[in-house]
């Protein structure tokens, strides 16, 4: 077999694949932002430095852990799962339910994340502990059609529509006091957002880099409060920065602006 055409194929793949990534990014940011939400450190956490990484990376906190304390399916119920294309013909308490739902593949869907809305208020009421430091970003709806989802949640300053992988499960909550599981119910579980860790361009990262490394905030970063200049670990009560977060045509988020939280 001739070597030159094969090397040309390898080179073409090595160039075209990154090019497609560039194009995807460009198409995401080409038009007007699909949504723009101003969030704080509570919603976009600094990923701890480590493994040789010395620059700040942010992670969207959408209250993943609350999924484990659910006592009922909430909005992500049987009807929603059926609408997303899952096979929901078995009852959650059927003996075969665990295997039946466990083998159903995860699906990519569009997810509405509501910032500081009724869902956040209801959660704070139900779980008052950590209410002042918990993220105010909560999943509130999902659909296979992004436009239909946006039509149901038209506030683009409060609701982000993003892509996520979700799955169906028959879930019984373990109660450590009674040492028993509650009767199982069928619910949808969000496995992850397709873009959950967000890289910030070097030009907008000075404040975050300083906070992540525990250094004093550089003067050019424009720190205005004691909390913002303190560095080190985040305060439980006072967020140290605010971020303008945008999503674009492909519903992938990016950071448009970072500033100290006043």
């Amino acid at each position: 077999m001739k070597r030159a055409p094969l090397l040309a194929i390898a080179a073409a793949v090595a160039v075209v694949a990154p090019l497609l990534v560039f194009l995807a990014s460009a198409s995401n940011r080409a038009a007007e932002p699909e949504a723009e939400v101003v969030v704080t450190e509570r919603e976009l956490r600094l990923v701890p430095l480590g493994e040789g990484r010395r620059w700040a990376v942010l992670r969207l906190d959408w209250n993943r852990d609350l999924q484990w304390s659910q006592k009922e399916p909430g909005w992500f119920d049987r009807a929603k799962l059926a609408a997303l294309g899952f096979d929901v013909r078995l009852a959650a308490d059927d003996l075969r339910a665990s295997g039946f739902y466990g083998w159903q593949p995860a699906r990519e869907v569009f997810l509405a994340l509501e910032f500081d809305g009724p869902a956040a208020a209801a959660t704070d009421l139900a779980y008052p502990k950590d209410a002042s430091s918990r993220s105010r970003l909560h999943p509130v709806d999902a659909a296979l059609d992004a436009r239909a989802l946006r039509a149901r949640h038209p506030d683009r300053q409060r609701v982000l529509v993003v892509r996520a992988a979700v799955t169906a499960e028959s879930y019984g909550r373990w109660d450590p006091e009674t040492r028993k599981s509650s009767p199982p119910f069928l619910r949808g579980r969000i496995q992850r957002l397709l873009v959950e860790e967000i890289q910030v361009p070097r030009g907008r990262r000075a404040l975050l880099d300083a906070l992540a490394s525990g250094e004093a905030v550089p003067a050019g970063a424009g720190a205005t409060s004691a909390a913002a200049t303190a560095g080190g670990k985040p305060s439980a009560e006072v967020p140290r920065y605010r971020v303008v977060l945008r999503t674009g045509g492909r519903l992938e988020p990016w950071v448009a602006e970072v500033s100290p939280h006043s």
Binding site: A17, P18, N28, G85, R107, V195, R202
Partner: protein, 362 residues
């Protein structure tokens, strides 16, 4: 009399090595036959044969750097291991070095590094392949090129906050596959096959988007690719790349037998809309029939890798079935005794086949 060491030149290093091995074995056996008095060559014949063989070995060594002695063979094995370890260590060094300075680089430079690294390493492969016959350095650079492309793409996607779809597995498969065929590097072919299988594993339905999390939830998605992999050596003969067909057959069979094993125990994982019990029974039966057929085909076609993989699959299917039947109610010692007796039974059966085959050969 032809010129010493003349004859057709083998088309690949593997073929050349096999020829060199055959010459070595022939020389040993000839010496044994002469000692036993079963064969006596004249001085002239002996000299001509030695001259021919030494000329041939010299030519093979010059063209393909074949191993001529056991010591050379052992050294070659060590060099292969060193190549693998070296590639791993160098990939880790490259990754950690770039990672150390990554945050300080402008985006354009980061993107440039990600795109250029695999291309430079491919260029390095070409230079190395022109200078060496054994291709150890070429393989090392090839593994590095593959690693840099596989690591670079998600890094780039992360840099621009783009969700990388599982179809990137096909890009990795194409990259590694093209390099493997360009230089005859079987390890890169195995990587390409595994990436292709990885992509197949994420397919969860004809109309769904693939997501990484869906991997393995519909094992039937592996089956068409498994059949295709087994068929590749028949569809496209690999005359010069003689090490490739066994790799295709081995991974093709694994892509058939492992999903069938899973589907035989978890009918819920099937695409088919039948009851789980029916699906499990059907796949258990299919597994036994397919494994037995593959053993027969492997013996008949002299494909040892097919015989080994299929034989192993048959034994696993059998033991899993015995577990289902008896583990719950037989005392443990009786259960393991039964397993042992089954193994002895299989041994006797294979011995019977062996003696039948010896008789038919005679």
């Amino acid at each position: 009399m032809t010129e010493a060491g003349s004859g057709p030149t083998p088309s690949s290093r593997e073929e050349a090595q096999r020829r060199a091995d055959r010459i070595g074995a022939f020389q040993c056996e000839l010496a044994e036959l002469e000692r036993e008095g079963a064969l006596r060559l004249t001085e002239e014949q002996r000299a001509a044969l030695d001259l021919h063989h030494s000329g041939l070995l010299e030519r093979l060594a010059k063209t393909y750097d074949v191993d001529r002695t056991d010591r050379q063979r052992r050294l070659s094995s060590g060099m292969k291991a060193a190549t693998l370890l070296g590639a791993l260590a160098l990939a880790a060094a490259l990754y950690t070095f770039l990672y150390r300075f990554w945050g300080g680089m402008p985006v354009a430079l980061q993107a440039g590094v990600v795109v250029a690294t695999p291309l430079l390493l491919v260029a390095g492969m070409e230079i190395a392949a022109r200078r060496e016959r054994s291709l150890y350095v070429t393989l090392l650079l090839g593994l590095l090129a593959g690693a840099s492309f596989v690591i670079g793409l998600p890094v780039l996607a992360g840099l621009f906050n783009v969700a990388l779809p599982p179809v990137s597995l096909l890009a990795w498969a194409a990259f590694c596959g093209a390099l493997s065929y360009a230089y005859g590097l079987r390890l890169l072919l195995v990587a390409a096959i595994l990436f292709a299988l990885g992509y197949a594993g994420t397919l969860s339905g004809p109309t769904d988007h693939c997501v990484w999390e869906a991997f393995g939830h519909r094992p039937e998605a592996f089956l068409p690719l498994g059949v295709l992999l087994v068929a590749v050596p028949r569809l496209a003969p690999h005359r010069s790349l003689t090490g490739f067909p066994p790799a295709f057959r081995t991974f093709g069979l694994l892509a058939l037998f492992l999903p069938i094993l899973i589907l035989g125990r978890a009918g819920n994982a099937s695409f088919l809309g039948l009851g789980p019990g029916t699906i499990e029974a059907a796949y258990q039966l299919l597994g036994f029939v397919l494994a037995a057929l593959a053993v027969w085909l492997g013996v008949r076609s002299a494909w040892p890798e097919v015989t080994n993989v299929a034989g192993g699959a048959f034994v696993v299917y059998l033991y899993v079935k015995l577990y289902d039947w008896w583990w719950a109610f037989l005392p443990r010692w009786v259960f393991f005794l039964v397993l042992g007796l089954v193994a002895v039974g299989l041994l006797l059966l294979l011995r019977r086949f062996h003696s039948l085959s010896r008789r038919s050969t005679a």
